[in-house]
Amino acid sequence: MISVKNLKKSFGDVEVLKDISVEIDPKEVVVVIGPSGSGKSTFLRCLNRIESITDGHVLIEGVDITDKKVNINEIRTEVGMVFQQFNLFPHKTVLDNITLPMITVRKWKKADAEAKAHALLKKVGLSEKAKVYPDSLSGGQKQRVAIARALGMEPKIMLFDEPTSALDPEMVGEVLEVMKQLAKEGMTMVVVTHEMGFAREVGDRVVFMDEGYIVEENEPNQLFNNPQNERTKAFLSKVL
């Protein structure tokens, strides 16, 4: 589904991703953990080329997105993304946030888009908020709308970039609940998070990154209970 080969990324002279290779299978939920500055967010942002790729290859369903001839916008409709800061469009209502990409990118009719958007809002438990502006939502509600918006494009893959890090603690649960539901439905997911509970419960595989490398990866129970690498052990001892 996703195939990353020798991915490298530099910001100026600073090499943030040094040599990342990983395969992600369909319906797999991969959780990426690691200390801040380890490059995990940058890695995620390279998967839909929101961040330009310095070297190496990223294949989404066999299509190499580092190829300049590839229509990246088309690939991105298949790869949904959820951001730490929600990034809802403040000048659009909740409903319009969800329908805008359907209408402009997918070229759906307005009525079809709205029917689909209402169904998605129901799914994330926010049916009654369709007509309000994002300003009046809580953080947890904003993030659930952002998830609904990404799902509106009917993506095959969902990327989550620290989706609960900007939330008040009591709102983390409602967002994780939606993500768990999504995982249960068989969505391929890559999740950068500090929620170790979520990683353990939902993740099929946990990837530990540090200083631009994948240091260790394993299924959650193995990685959390029996880490092999010293750096993994040091990190886990601080967060668990």
């Binding site: 839909n48 929101i50 916008n73 088309e74 991105r76 409709t77 790869v79 949904g80 993304m81 951001f83 800061q85 990034n87 809802l88 469009f89 403040p90 000048h91 805008l100 990409p101 402009t104 990118v105 502006y133 952002a146 918006r149 990404a150 494009m153």
Partner: protein, 234 residues
């Protein structure tokens, strides 16, 4: 109204000030005509300036240095030279290449448009760059292309923030259009000069002209404040 003006004239005469309302009254229709031209020229200037300014702003934000260059120097030139010099260049040098005889109103509109385009371009650029990077990232992640991101996401949000500086630009333009009097464009100040020429009196025409400009800019200020408040609540 005329009674009121005569009343003021008498009170001023009581304290030894000779102020001839007759001039104001006689020239009033011309002042009104001139005022309409002033408003029209400024409005045309700011509208054309906005359209040109948007393209100049986008050009100046190009990632390619060589593409940026002409836009940067356009802005440098029009912000770095006096408006009156620009007006002379356009009225006496550029416009005669296009039309003959040259219509001074057209010259003023062209000059104001080109000049305001430079300032508006910087307003646009600041507005566009003030929008959080995450907005464009989210829109791109949903598959929107650059044009769609600009049109549906960035510009509507940027425009709200650009209203106060655009309003200021309009007020500046309204006042600067008075330079048209020098090339005999029949705007507000032109009629003030005409009255001065006819009666050899300066206080009456110029004070009246100043008052009309003041009323115009003041009403505009209040209109803009109202607009800003209304957009802010949405």
């Amino acid at each position: 109204m005329i009674d009121f003006l005569m009343f003021i004239q008498e009170r001023l005469a009581d304290i030894g000030i000779d102020f001839r309302m007759k001039i104001v009254i006689e020239y009033f229709p011309f002042f009104m005509q001139g005022m309409l031209k002033t408003i029209g020229m400024s409005l045309a200037g700011v509208l054309i300036g906005c359209i040109l300014g948007l393209f100049i702003a986008l050009g100046k934000m190009s990632p390619l240095f060589i593409l940026r260059l002409p836009f940067v120097w356009y802005i440098n030139f029009f912000r770095g030279t006096p408006l009156l010099v620009q007006l002379f260049l356009i009225h006496f040098a550029v416009m005669p290449l296009i039309m003959s005889p040259v219509n001074p109103i057209a010259s003023v509109i062209v000059t104001l448009s080109l000049n305001s385009a430079a300032y508006v371009a910087e307003i646009f650029r600041a507005g566009i760059q003030s929008i959080d990077k995450g907005q464009a990232e989210a829109a791109h992640s949903l598959g929107m292309n650059k044009l769609q991101v600009m049109w549906y996401i960035i510009l509507p949000q940027a425009f709200k923030r650009m209203i106060p500086p655009l309003g200021n630009e309009f007020i500046v333009l309204l006042k600067d259009s008075s330079l048209g009097a020098i090339i005999a464009a029949p705007e507000l100040l032109y009629w003030g000069r005409a009255a001065t020429g006819q009666y050899y009196r300066v206080w009456e025409p110029y004070l009246t002209v100043a008052l009309i400009y003041f009323i115009l800019t003041l009403s505009l200020t209040y209109l803009l404040n109202y607009l800003e408040r209304r957009l802010a609540t949405k």
